[in-house]
Protein backbone atom coordinates (compact mmCIF):
# COMPACT_ATOMS: atom_id res chain seq x y z
CA UNK A 1 0.00 0.00 0.00
CA UNK A 2 2.88 2.33 0.83
CA UNK A 3 4.26 1.90 -2.66
CA UNK A 4 0.93 2.84 -4.15
CA UNK A 5 0.70 6.11 -2.22
CA UNK A 6 4.27 6.95 -3.03
CA UNK A 7 3.67 6.48 -6.73
CA UNK A 8 0.48 8.55 -6.48
CA UNK A 9 2.48 11.35 -4.95
CA UNK A 10 5.04 11.08 -7.73
CA UNK A 11 2.36 11.28 -10.42
CA UNK A 12 0.83 14.29 -8.71
CA UNK A 13 4.19 16.03 -8.57
CA UNK A 14 4.74 15.21 -12.22
CA UNK A 15 1.44 16.69 -13.25
CA UNK A 16 1.95 19.81 -11.17
CA UNK A 17 5.16 20.53 -13.04
CA UNK A 18 2.94 21.87 -15.81
CA UNK A 19 1.01 24.08 -13.46
CA UNK A 20 -0.87 26.33 -15.90
CA UNK A 21 -1.78 23.39 -18.08
CA UNK A 22 -3.04 21.53 -15.03
CA UNK A 23 -5.22 24.37 -13.81
CA UNK A 24 -6.66 25.03 -17.27
CA UNK A 25 -7.51 21.38 -17.86
CA UNK A 26 -8.99 21.21 -14.38
CA UNK A 27 -11.30 24.13 -15.11
CA UNK A 28 -12.26 22.91 -18.56
CA UNK A 29 -13.10 19.50 -17.08
CA UNK A 30 -15.56 21.13 -14.71
CA UNK A 31 -17.16 23.00 -17.58
CA UNK A 32 -17.25 19.98 -19.85
CA UNK A 33 -18.69 17.80 -17.21
CA UNK A 34 -21.42 20.14 -16.30
CA UNK A 35 -22.92 19.45 -19.72
CA UNK A 36 -23.77 15.90 -18.63
CA UNK A 37 -25.78 17.17 -15.72
CA UNK A 38 -27.27 19.71 -18.04
CA UNK A 39 -28.67 17.00 -20.33
CA UNK A 40 -30.60 15.51 -17.44
CA UNK A 41 -31.89 18.88 -16.32
CA UNK A 42 -32.94 19.71 -19.89
CA UNK A 43 -34.98 16.52 -20.17
CA UNK A 44 -36.71 17.23 -16.88
CA UNK A 45 -37.98 20.56 -18.19
CA UNK A 46 -40.12 18.53 -20.63
CA UNK A 47 -40.92 15.57 -18.39
CA UNK A 48 -41.91 15.66 -14.74
CA UNK A 49 -40.58 12.29 -13.67
CA UNK A 50 -39.13 9.06 -15.04
CA UNK A 51 -41.06 6.10 -13.68
CA UNK A 52 -41.67 7.95 -10.42
CA UNK A 53 -38.16 9.32 -9.98
CA UNK A 54 -37.90 13.10 -9.89
CA UNK A 55 -35.08 15.33 -11.10
CA UNK A 56 -33.17 15.45 -7.82
CA UNK A 57 -33.50 11.73 -7.27
CA UNK A 58 -31.98 11.09 -10.70
CA UNK A 59 -29.25 13.65 -10.04
CA UNK A 60 -28.40 11.90 -6.78
CA UNK A 61 -28.22 8.60 -8.62
CA UNK A 62 -26.06 10.05 -11.36
CA UNK A 63 -23.67 11.77 -8.96
CA UNK A 64 -23.06 8.49 -7.15
CA UNK A 65 -22.25 6.70 -10.41
CA UNK A 66 -20.12 9.61 -11.54
CA UNK A 67 -18.24 9.54 -8.26
CA UNK A 68 -17.31 5.88 -8.63
CA UNK A 69 -16.32 6.27 -12.24
CA UNK A 70 -14.11 9.32 -11.68
CA UNK A 71 -12.63 7.75 -8.57
CA UNK A 72 -11.28 4.98 -10.75
CA UNK A 73 -10.15 7.39 -13.42
CA UNK A 74 -8.00 9.15 -10.83
CA UNK A 75 -6.77 6.27 -8.70
CA UNK A 76 -6.93 3.32 -11.11
CA UNK A 77 -5.90 5.08 -14.29
CA UNK A 78 -3.36 2.37 -14.98
CA UNK A 79 -6.11 -0.18 -15.38
CA UNK A 80 -8.25 2.16 -17.44
CA UNK A 81 -5.33 2.74 -19.82
CA UNK A 82 -4.18 -0.86 -19.71
CA UNK A 83 -3.98 -1.27 -23.48
CA UNK A 84 -1.17 1.30 -23.53
CA UNK A 85 0.86 -0.89 -21.20
CA UNK A 86 0.32 -3.90 -23.44
CA UNK A 87 0.87 -2.21 -26.79
CA UNK A 88 4.10 -0.55 -25.73
CA UNK A 89 5.38 -3.76 -24.21
CA UNK A 90 5.78 -2.17 -20.77
CA UNK A 91 3.72 -4.86 -19.16
CA UNK A 92 6.66 -7.24 -19.47
CA UNK A 93 8.68 -5.05 -17.15
CA UNK A 94 5.99 -5.23 -14.48
CA UNK A 95 5.92 -9.01 -14.72
CA UNK A 96 9.58 -9.15 -13.77
CA UNK A 97 9.12 -7.41 -10.45
CA UNK A 98 8.36 -9.41 -7.30
CA UNK A 99 5.22 -7.49 -6.37
CA UNK A 100 1.50 -7.94 -6.85
CA UNK A 101 0.74 -7.31 -10.47
CA UNK A 102 -2.54 -5.43 -10.02
CA UNK A 103 -0.89 -3.14 -7.50
CA UNK A 104 1.87 -2.38 -9.98
CA UNK A 105 -0.60 -1.62 -12.74
CA UNK A 106 -2.35 0.75 -10.35
CA UNK A 107 0.95 2.47 -9.67
CA UNK A 108 1.75 2.90 -13.34
CA UNK A 109 -0.57 5.80 -14.05
CA UNK A 110 -2.96 8.31 -12.54
CA UNK A 111 -4.82 11.39 -13.69
CA UNK A 112 -5.36 14.09 -11.11
CA UNK A 113 -7.19 16.40 -13.46
CA UNK A 114 -10.17 14.11 -13.02
CA UNK A 115 -10.34 15.08 -9.35
CA UNK A 116 -12.46 17.92 -10.69
CA UNK A 117 -15.16 15.41 -11.58
CA UNK A 118 -15.01 13.89 -8.12
CA UNK A 119 -15.56 17.27 -6.54
CA UNK A 120 -18.33 18.02 -8.96
CA UNK A 121 -20.08 14.75 -8.21
CA UNK A 122 -19.93 15.51 -4.49
CA UNK A 123 -21.36 19.00 -5.04
CA UNK A 124 -24.25 17.65 -7.10
CA UNK A 125 -24.87 14.96 -4.50
CA UNK A 126 -24.96 17.60 -1.79
CA UNK A 127 -27.40 19.79 -3.72
CA UNK A 128 -29.62 16.83 -4.54
CA UNK A 129 -29.83 15.56 -0.96
CA UNK A 130 -30.72 19.04 0.31
CA UNK A 131 -33.63 19.26 -2.10
CA UNK A 132 -34.89 15.78 -1.33
CA UNK A 133 -35.84 16.26 2.33
CA UNK A 134 -34.45 12.92 3.41
CA UNK A 135 -35.56 11.40 6.69
CA UNK A 136 -32.02 11.05 8.05
CA UNK A 137 -31.00 8.27 10.40
CA UNK A 138 -27.90 6.22 10.92
CA UNK A 139 -28.78 3.44 8.45
CA UNK A 140 -29.48 6.02 5.73
CA UNK A 141 -26.03 7.53 6.23
CA UNK A 142 -24.47 4.09 6.03
CA UNK A 143 -26.50 3.27 2.92
CA UNK A 144 -25.29 6.41 1.20
CA UNK A 145 -21.67 5.63 2.06
CA UNK A 146 -22.13 2.05 0.90
CA UNK A 147 -23.54 3.29 -2.39
CA UNK A 148 -20.48 5.46 -2.95
CA UNK A 149 -18.18 2.60 -2.02
CA UNK A 150 -19.94 0.06 -4.23
CA UNK A 151 -19.91 2.53 -7.10
CA UNK A 152 -16.11 2.72 -6.84
CA UNK A 153 -15.86 -1.05 -6.61
CA UNK A 154 -18.10 -1.88 -9.53
CA UNK A 155 -16.16 0.35 -11.90
CA UNK A 156 -12.91 -1.06 -10.61
CA UNK A 157 -14.22 -4.51 -11.48
CA UNK A 158 -15.38 -3.43 -14.90
CA UNK A 159 -12.05 -1.75 -15.64
CA UNK A 160 -10.28 -4.95 -14.60
CA UNK A 161 -12.43 -7.00 -16.95
CA UNK A 162 -11.81 -4.56 -19.78
CA UNK A 163 -8.09 -4.84 -19.03
CA UNK A 164 -8.28 -8.62 -19.14
CA UNK A 165 -9.95 -8.24 -22.50
CA UNK A 166 -6.81 -6.47 -23.76
CA UNK A 167 -4.78 -9.62 -23.18
CA UNK A 168 -6.65 -11.24 -26.01
CA UNK A 169 -7.19 -8.38 -28.44
CA UNK A 170 -4.03 -6.35 -27.76
CA UNK A 171 -5.95 -3.29 -28.89
CA UNK A 172 -8.61 -1.76 -26.67
CA UNK A 173 -11.49 -2.01 -29.11
CA UNK A 174 -14.63 0.09 -28.87
CA UNK A 175 -16.54 -2.79 -27.33
CA UNK A 176 -15.12 -2.09 -23.92
CA UNK A 177 -16.86 1.29 -24.04
CA UNK A 178 -20.13 -0.59 -23.87
CA UNK A 179 -19.37 -1.62 -20.33
CA UNK A 180 -17.60 1.50 -19.11
CA UNK A 181 -19.17 4.50 -20.83
CA UNK A 182 -22.33 2.69 -21.85
CA UNK A 183 -22.83 1.28 -18.39
CA UNK A 184 -22.20 4.68 -16.91
CA UNK A 185 -24.73 6.28 -19.21
CA UNK A 186 -27.36 3.73 -18.29
CA UNK A 187 -26.68 3.80 -14.60
CA UNK A 188 -27.17 7.55 -14.39
CA UNK A 189 -30.85 6.65 -14.20
CA UNK A 190 -31.98 4.16 -11.55
CA UNK A 191 -31.70 0.80 -13.31
CA UNK A 192 -35.27 -0.09 -12.40
CA UNK A 193 -36.75 2.34 -14.94
CA UNK A 194 -35.57 0.23 -17.86
CA UNK A 195 -37.16 -2.76 -19.54
CA UNK A 196 -37.12 -6.12 -17.78
CA UNK A 197 -34.35 -7.84 -19.75
CA UNK A 198 -31.90 -5.02 -19.16
CA UNK A 199 -32.78 -4.84 -15.49
CA UNK A 200 -31.94 -8.53 -15.07
CA UNK A 201 -28.74 -8.13 -17.02
CA UNK A 202 -27.66 -5.22 -14.87
CA UNK A 203 -28.64 -7.00 -11.67
CA UNK A 204 -27.07 -10.38 -12.18
CA UNK A 205 -24.36 -9.96 -14.81
CA UNK A 206 -23.07 -6.50 -14.00
CA UNK A 207 -24.69 -5.59 -10.70
CA UNK A 208 -25.39 -1.89 -11.26
CA UNK A 209 -28.80 -2.34 -9.68
CA UNK A 210 -27.15 -2.94 -6.29
CA UNK A 211 -25.30 0.33 -6.64
CA UNK A 212 -27.95 2.73 -7.74
CA UNK A 213 -31.37 1.13 -7.55
CA UNK A 214 -32.13 -1.07 -4.53
CA UNK A 215 -30.18 1.02 -2.01
CA UNK A 216 -31.61 4.17 -3.57
CA UNK A 217 -35.12 2.88 -2.92
CA UNK A 218 -34.25 2.48 0.75
CA UNK A 219 -32.43 5.78 0.93
CA UNK A 220 -35.41 7.66 -0.51
CA UNK A 221 -37.80 5.89 1.83
CA UNK A 222 -39.59 4.02 -0.94
CA UNK A 223 -38.72 0.64 0.56
CA UNK A 224 -38.12 -0.29 4.19
CA UNK A 225 -36.33 -3.62 4.02
CA UNK A 226 -32.83 -3.60 5.46
CA UNK A 227 -31.80 -5.95 2.69
CA UNK A 228 -32.14 -3.01 0.32
CA UNK A 229 -30.02 -0.85 2.59
CA UNK A 230 -27.11 -3.24 2.67
CA UNK A 231 -27.43 -4.65 -0.84
CA UNK A 232 -24.39 -2.64 -2.10
CA UNK A 233 -22.23 -5.11 -0.18
CA UNK A 234 -23.15 -7.73 -2.77
CA UNK A 235 -21.08 -5.79 -5.28
CA UNK A 236 -17.98 -6.93 -3.38
CA UNK A 237 -18.71 -10.47 -4.59
CA UNK A 238 -18.57 -9.18 -8.12
CA UNK A 239 -14.88 -8.39 -7.70
CA UNK A 240 -13.99 -12.05 -7.33
CA UNK A 241 -14.79 -13.17 -10.90
CA UNK A 242 -13.20 -9.98 -12.23
CA UNK A 243 -9.91 -10.70 -10.51
CA UNK A 244 -10.03 -14.35 -11.56
CA UNK A 245 -10.63 -13.38 -15.18
CA UNK A 246 -7.76 -10.92 -15.05
CA UNK A 247 -5.30 -13.54 -13.81
CA UNK A 248 -6.66 -16.10 -16.24
CA UNK A 249 -6.10 -13.66 -19.10
CA UNK A 250 -2.62 -12.92 -17.85
CA UNK A 251 -1.67 -16.59 -18.15
CA UNK A 252 -2.46 -16.45 -21.84
CA UNK A 253 -0.60 -13.21 -22.36
CA UNK A 254 2.07 -13.20 -25.01
CA UNK A 255 4.23 -10.14 -25.25
CA UNK A 256 4.02 -7.93 -28.29
CA UNK A 257 7.65 -6.89 -27.88
CA UNK A 258 8.69 -3.28 -27.70
Amino acid sequence: MKIYFKSLAMHLKGELEYRVDFILSFLSQILVFFTYYFIIIALFTKFEHIKGFTLYEVLLCFSIIQFGFSFNEVFARGIDKFDDLIIQGNFDRLLLRPRNIILQVLCSNSDFVKVSRLIQALIIMFIATIHLSIDWNITRVITLLLMLLSSCIIFFGIFLMAAAYCFFTIQGLEVRNVFTDGGKHMAQYPIGVFQKGFVYFFTFVIPYAFVNYYPLLYFLGKKDSLFYAFSPLLVLLYLIPCIIIFYWGMKRYTSVGS
Binding site: V32, L43, K46, F47, E48, I50, K51, V175, G182, Q195
Partner: protein, 267 residues
Protein backbone atom coordinates in the same frame (compact mmCIF):
# COMPACT_ATOMS: atom_id res chain seq x y z
CA UNK B 1 -7.92 17.96 -58.53
CA UNK B 2 -6.83 14.46 -59.49
CA UNK B 3 -4.21 14.40 -56.79
CA UNK B 4 -6.83 15.19 -54.14
CA UNK B 5 -9.15 12.49 -55.41
CA UNK B 6 -6.27 10.04 -55.18
CA UNK B 7 -5.81 11.05 -51.55
CA UNK B 8 -9.48 10.44 -51.00
CA UNK B 9 -9.34 7.01 -52.62
CA UNK B 10 -6.20 6.05 -50.76
CA UNK B 11 -7.72 6.84 -47.40
CA UNK B 12 -11.08 5.33 -48.33
CA UNK B 13 -9.62 2.01 -49.43
CA UNK B 14 -7.15 1.71 -46.58
CA UNK B 15 -9.88 2.49 -44.03
CA UNK B 16 -12.05 -0.24 -45.48
CA UNK B 17 -9.50 -2.73 -44.16
CA UNK B 18 -10.55 -2.28 -40.55
CA UNK B 19 -13.47 -4.66 -40.66
CA UNK B 20 -13.03 -6.07 -37.18
CA UNK B 21 -13.14 -2.57 -35.74
CA UNK B 22 -16.30 -1.94 -37.74
CA UNK B 23 -18.06 -4.94 -36.23
CA UNK B 24 -17.04 -3.79 -32.79
CA UNK B 25 -18.38 -0.36 -33.68
CA UNK B 26 -21.69 -1.77 -34.84
CA UNK B 27 -22.12 -3.72 -31.62
CA UNK B 28 -21.32 -0.63 -29.58
CA UNK B 29 -23.76 1.49 -31.53
CA UNK B 30 -26.55 -1.03 -31.07
CA UNK B 31 -26.01 -0.98 -27.35
CA UNK B 32 -25.87 2.80 -27.10
CA UNK B 33 -28.91 3.10 -29.33
CA UNK B 34 -30.89 0.82 -27.03
CA UNK B 35 -29.74 2.66 -23.92
CA UNK B 36 -30.62 6.10 -25.30
CA UNK B 37 -33.96 4.89 -26.55
CA UNK B 38 -34.88 3.14 -23.32
CA UNK B 39 -34.39 6.37 -21.43
CA UNK B 40 -36.92 8.05 -23.71
CA UNK B 41 -39.31 5.12 -23.58
CA UNK B 42 -39.28 5.34 -19.78
CA UNK B 43 -39.78 9.11 -19.93
CA UNK B 44 -42.65 8.88 -22.42
CA UNK B 45 -44.37 6.17 -20.40
CA UNK B 46 -44.23 8.48 -17.40
CA UNK B 47 -45.97 11.21 -19.37
CA UNK B 48 -45.02 14.82 -19.93
CA UNK B 49 -46.39 18.12 -21.10
CA UNK B 50 -45.98 19.82 -24.49
CA UNK B 51 -43.59 17.22 -25.84
CA UNK B 52 -41.85 18.51 -28.95
CA UNK B 53 -41.65 15.15 -30.76
CA UNK B 54 -43.57 11.88 -30.84
CA UNK B 55 -41.82 8.83 -29.37
CA UNK B 56 -41.47 6.96 -32.71
CA UNK B 57 -39.90 10.11 -34.16
CA UNK B 58 -37.39 10.31 -31.32
CA UNK B 59 -36.56 6.61 -31.70
CA UNK B 60 -35.99 6.94 -35.44
CA UNK B 61 -33.91 10.06 -34.85
CA UNK B 62 -31.71 8.26 -32.33
CA UNK B 63 -31.19 5.21 -34.55
CA UNK B 64 -30.22 7.40 -37.50
CA UNK B 65 -27.75 9.08 -35.21
CA UNK B 66 -26.17 5.74 -34.34
CA UNK B 67 -26.24 4.46 -37.93
CA UNK B 68 -24.47 7.50 -39.33
CA UNK B 69 -22.35 8.24 -36.29
CA UNK B 70 -19.11 7.40 -38.09
CA UNK B 71 -20.00 9.97 -40.74
CA UNK B 72 -21.23 12.92 -38.71
CA UNK B 73 -19.73 12.63 -35.25
CA UNK B 74 -17.48 15.40 -34.03
CA UNK B 75 -15.54 13.55 -31.38
CA UNK B 76 -13.26 11.43 -33.58
CA UNK B 77 -10.09 13.39 -33.88
CA UNK B 78 -8.06 12.40 -36.89
CA UNK B 79 -5.08 11.20 -34.86
CA UNK B 80 -2.92 11.04 -37.96
CA UNK B 81 -3.13 14.79 -38.48
CA UNK B 82 -2.31 15.58 -34.84
CA UNK B 83 0.59 13.17 -34.99
CA UNK B 84 1.96 14.95 -38.06
CA UNK B 85 1.95 18.19 -36.14
CA UNK B 86 3.33 16.87 -32.87
CA UNK B 87 6.04 14.64 -34.27
CA UNK B 88 7.31 16.75 -37.11
CA UNK B 89 5.86 14.76 -40.00
CA UNK B 90 4.38 18.03 -41.19
CA UNK B 91 7.66 18.94 -42.84
CA UNK B 92 7.07 16.19 -45.40
CA UNK B 93 3.57 17.46 -45.97
CA UNK B 94 4.90 20.95 -46.59
CA UNK B 95 7.34 19.65 -49.16
CA UNK B 96 4.47 18.55 -51.39
CA UNK B 97 3.46 21.02 -54.10
CA UNK B 98 -0.22 20.88 -53.26
CA UNK B 99 -2.60 22.80 -51.10
CA UNK B 100 -2.17 21.27 -47.65
CA UNK B 101 -5.67 22.18 -46.56
CA UNK B 102 -7.39 20.24 -49.31
CA UNK B 103 -5.03 17.30 -48.91
CA UNK B 104 -6.18 17.02 -45.34
CA UNK B 105 -9.80 17.69 -46.24
CA UNK B 106 -9.98 14.84 -48.72
CA UNK B 107 -8.18 12.47 -46.39
CA UNK B 108 -10.64 13.11 -43.59
CA UNK B 109 -13.70 12.83 -45.78
CA UNK B 110 -12.36 9.60 -47.30
CA UNK B 111 -11.93 8.09 -43.88
CA UNK B 112 -15.39 9.14 -42.72
CA UNK B 113 -17.08 7.76 -45.83
CA UNK B 114 -15.23 4.45 -45.52
CA UNK B 115 -16.13 4.09 -41.85
CA UNK B 116 -19.80 4.76 -42.44
CA UNK B 117 -19.92 2.45 -45.46
CA UNK B 118 -18.83 -0.42 -43.26
CA UNK B 119 -21.33 0.34 -40.53
CA UNK B 120 -24.63 1.90 -41.53
CA UNK B 121 -26.31 -0.91 -43.46
CA UNK B 122 -26.48 -3.55 -40.70
CA UNK B 123 -27.81 -0.96 -38.28
CA UNK B 124 -30.48 0.35 -40.65
CA UNK B 125 -31.56 -3.15 -41.70
CA UNK B 126 -31.82 -4.64 -38.24
CA UNK B 127 -33.40 -1.65 -36.54
CA UNK B 128 -36.09 -1.31 -39.21
CA UNK B 129 -37.12 -4.90 -38.41
CA UNK B 130 -37.24 -4.39 -34.64
CA UNK B 131 -40.63 -4.44 -32.91
CA UNK B 132 -42.09 -1.31 -31.37
CA UNK B 133 -41.01 0.81 -29.55
CA UNK B 134 -37.52 0.20 -30.89
CA UNK B 135 -38.54 0.31 -34.52
CA UNK B 136 -36.76 2.57 -37.01
CA UNK B 137 -39.57 4.31 -38.86
CA UNK B 138 -39.88 5.12 -42.55
CA UNK B 139 -39.17 8.69 -43.74
CA UNK B 140 -42.05 11.17 -43.48
CA UNK B 141 -42.40 11.40 -47.26
CA UNK B 142 -40.38 10.86 -50.40
CA UNK B 143 -39.45 14.54 -50.56
CA UNK B 144 -38.42 14.54 -46.92
CA UNK B 145 -36.18 11.58 -47.68
CA UNK B 146 -34.62 13.37 -50.65
CA UNK B 147 -33.98 16.44 -48.53
CA UNK B 148 -32.56 14.22 -45.81
CA UNK B 149 -30.00 12.78 -48.23
CA UNK B 150 -29.07 16.22 -49.54
CA UNK B 151 -28.61 17.79 -46.14
CA UNK B 152 -26.75 14.74 -44.82
CA UNK B 153 -24.31 15.22 -47.69
CA UNK B 154 -23.92 18.89 -46.81
CA UNK B 155 -23.61 17.97 -43.14
CA UNK B 156 -20.73 15.67 -44.01
CA UNK B 157 -18.94 18.46 -45.85
CA UNK B 158 -19.52 20.71 -42.85
CA UNK B 159 -18.30 18.29 -40.22
CA UNK B 160 -15.20 17.58 -42.31
CA UNK B 161 -14.48 21.30 -42.55
CA UNK B 162 -14.75 21.47 -38.75
CA UNK B 163 -12.55 18.41 -38.14
CA UNK B 164 -9.84 19.84 -40.38
CA UNK B 165 -10.15 23.20 -38.66
CA UNK B 166 -9.08 21.89 -35.24
CA UNK B 167 -5.61 20.58 -36.19
CA UNK B 168 -4.97 23.91 -37.89
CA UNK B 169 -5.52 25.62 -34.55
CA UNK B 170 -3.23 23.01 -33.02
CA UNK B 171 -0.46 24.10 -35.37
CA UNK B 172 -0.03 27.08 -33.07
CA UNK B 173 -1.05 25.75 -29.67
CA UNK B 174 0.67 22.35 -30.09
CA UNK B 175 -1.76 20.77 -27.65
CA UNK B 176 -5.30 19.92 -28.64
CA UNK B 177 -6.40 18.93 -25.15
CA UNK B 178 -7.55 22.35 -23.96
CA UNK B 179 -9.55 24.48 -26.36
CA UNK B 180 -10.25 21.89 -29.03
CA UNK B 181 -11.62 19.32 -26.58
CA UNK B 182 -13.83 21.99 -25.07
CA UNK B 183 -15.25 23.01 -28.46
CA UNK B 184 -15.79 19.39 -29.43
CA UNK B 185 -17.72 18.62 -26.24
CA UNK B 186 -19.99 21.60 -26.69
CA UNK B 187 -20.42 20.71 -30.35
CA UNK B 188 -21.30 17.16 -29.40
CA UNK B 189 -24.12 18.21 -27.11
CA UNK B 190 -25.44 20.77 -29.58
CA UNK B 191 -25.45 18.26 -32.43
CA UNK B 192 -28.24 16.39 -30.70
CA UNK B 193 -26.59 12.98 -30.30
CA UNK B 194 -28.10 12.32 -26.89
CA UNK B 195 -30.87 14.88 -26.68
CA UNK B 196 -32.50 16.11 -29.91
CA UNK B 197 -32.42 19.90 -30.20
CA UNK B 198 -36.21 20.37 -29.75
CA UNK B 199 -35.86 19.07 -26.16
CA UNK B 200 -33.50 21.89 -25.22
CA UNK B 201 -34.67 24.89 -23.23
CA UNK B 202 -35.83 27.75 -25.42
CA UNK B 203 -32.84 30.07 -24.93
CA UNK B 204 -30.39 27.31 -25.80
CA UNK B 205 -32.25 26.46 -28.98
CA UNK B 206 -31.85 30.07 -30.05
CA UNK B 207 -28.13 30.14 -29.24
CA UNK B 208 -27.68 26.80 -30.97
CA UNK B 209 -29.33 28.01 -34.18
CA UNK B 210 -26.56 30.59 -34.54
CA UNK B 211 -23.83 27.96 -34.19
CA UNK B 212 -22.81 25.45 -36.86
CA UNK B 213 -23.17 22.26 -34.81
CA UNK B 214 -26.87 21.49 -35.14
CA UNK B 215 -26.65 21.76 -38.93
CA UNK B 216 -24.36 18.74 -39.10
CA UNK B 217 -26.75 15.95 -38.17
CA UNK B 218 -29.75 17.35 -36.32
CA UNK B 219 -31.13 18.99 -39.47
CA UNK B 220 -30.99 15.94 -41.75
CA UNK B 221 -32.37 13.57 -39.13
CA UNK B 222 -35.25 15.85 -38.21
CA UNK B 223 -36.02 16.21 -41.91
CA UNK B 224 -36.20 12.42 -42.17
CA UNK B 225 -38.70 12.07 -39.35
CA UNK B 226 -40.69 15.03 -40.64
CA UNK B 227 -40.17 17.25 -37.61
CA UNK B 228 -39.00 20.02 -39.93
CA UNK B 229 -41.07 21.33 -42.84
CA UNK B 230 -39.61 21.19 -46.35
CA UNK B 231 -39.51 24.99 -46.56
CA UNK B 232 -37.42 25.18 -43.41
CA UNK B 233 -35.32 22.36 -44.83
CA UNK B 234 -34.35 24.52 -47.81
CA UNK B 235 -33.55 27.37 -45.43
CA UNK B 236 -31.48 25.04 -43.26
CA UNK B 237 -29.49 23.77 -46.22
CA UNK B 238 -28.67 27.35 -47.19
CA UNK B 239 -27.27 27.85 -43.69
CA UNK B 240 -25.30 24.62 -44.02
CA UNK B 241 -23.87 25.88 -47.28
CA UNK B 242 -22.84 29.20 -45.73
CA UNK B 243 -21.09 27.48 -42.81
CA UNK B 244 -19.23 25.12 -45.17
CA UNK B 245 -17.91 27.98 -47.30
CA UNK B 246 -17.06 29.98 -44.18
CA UNK B 247 -15.10 27.20 -42.52
CA UNK B 248 -13.23 26.20 -45.67
CA UNK B 249 -12.24 29.83 -46.27
CA UNK B 250 -11.31 30.38 -42.64
CA UNK B 251 -9.38 27.11 -42.56
CA UNK B 252 -7.40 28.07 -45.64
CA UNK B 253 -6.56 31.53 -44.35
CA UNK B 254 -5.58 30.29 -40.89
CA UNK B 255 -3.50 27.54 -42.47
CA UNK B 256 -1.56 30.12 -44.49
CA UNK B 257 -0.91 32.25 -41.41
CA UNK B 258 0.01 29.35 -39.13
CA UNK B 259 2.24 27.61 -41.65
CA UNK B 260 4.49 30.68 -41.69
CA UNK B 261 4.97 30.42 -37.94
CA UNK B 262 4.94 26.67 -37.55
CA UNK B 263 7.78 25.09 -35.60
CA UNK B 264 8.61 21.59 -36.76
CA UNK B 265 8.73 19.27 -33.78
CA UNK B 266 11.23 16.49 -33.46
CA UNK B 267 13.39 15.15 -36.23
Amino acid sequence: MRAYITYFKLKFISSLQYRMAAWAGIATQFFFGFVYIMVYVAFYESGGNHLPMELPQVVTYLWLNQAFLALVNQFTKDQELYKLIKEGGISYELARPKNLYFMWYFKVIGQRLANVTLRFLPLILVTSLLPKPFHLGAPASFLHFLFFLLSLGLGTLLVTALTVFYPIITLLTMNEKGTVTLIITIGDILSGIVVPIPFFPRFLQIISSFLPFQYISDLPFRLYVGDISLQYGVFGMCIQFIWIILFILLGNILMKINIKRVVVQGG
